[in-house]
Symmetry: C2
Amino acid sequence: MKLTSKGRYAVMALVDLAKFDNFNPVSLRDISLRQGISLDYLEQIFSKLKKNEIVKSIRGTHGGYVLNKNPNDIKLTNIFHAVDEKVKTVQCKKESKKGCNGKSTKCITHNLWDELEIHINTFFENKSLKDLINNNKETRV
Amino acid sequence: MKLTSKGRYAVMALVDLAKFDNFNPVSLRDISLRQGISLDYLEQIFSKLKKNEIVKSIRGTHGGYVLNKNPNDIKLTNIFHAVDEKVKTVQCKKESKKGCNGKSTKCITHNLWDELEIHINTFFENKSLKDLINNNKETRV
DNA sequence: CTAATCTTGACCATTTTAGTCAGGTATGTA
DNA sequence: TACATACCTGACTAAAATGGTCAAGATTAG
């Protein structure tokens, strides 16, 4: 199971981005300064977000990024998937002689991890960027 | 967030153990062979399980381990906690000048990870070793 | 033209993971 | 008492993942 800072940074950056309208692109430099994330690292992350059509890029001076979708339609699942955060629990090695497939029976914890994965994914599928923005406003008071 | 094979092995071994009565201790060697887990690694894991009073050890010939509690009272939370699997999402660095605490506002994703953590922990608190044993019987047919 | 910005890919130090290895110590059995 | 079985402990390590940095370009507004 993986949920690392790359995923967290992606979410932070997108929430930041979502606060602006779609006519003035936001530069990574600004996000970097506001969120305290290394610019070079942000570039890697946004490259992936763009490939997954979550953001659009505008090149050149005063360029930057804008959201490519309505914040309500960007689910956390989409974001994590884009930056390769697999919400996957430890898998039984499928090729191995040992464990899950070497024996006639299924590995005894197999169903457990399946269940957990569904549990977590459901959580992420039901959370959108918009939820986070609202949530943030509330707690900022 | 961490959920690695150490946690999975612990669960596999305990489910294995739970299939036997508490009068005949089960040796790690047997578990090692049945589950395909390195004996040396199992010893590390069981050392921790013992410290957390999840299993009892019997030394000497024909020794081994037995459960120290009713399978119904051993929750997955207990097991993961015992082997240091922290069900923790990526934290904002508390000391850092950047991110969460360097600014006057809370990091914008802070609440999200809190929520997720609760979500996952709830899942593990509600699953006991007994649930896994039953589940395993069903799917074995 | 040039400065700002996105784009791409290679590189790397550190930490974590998933163990191995090498010795113990305790105890039942012959 | 000897010995085999099994627990116990700590040090060590190869490989992978993490969280970046660095360098060199391509694009476009002004």
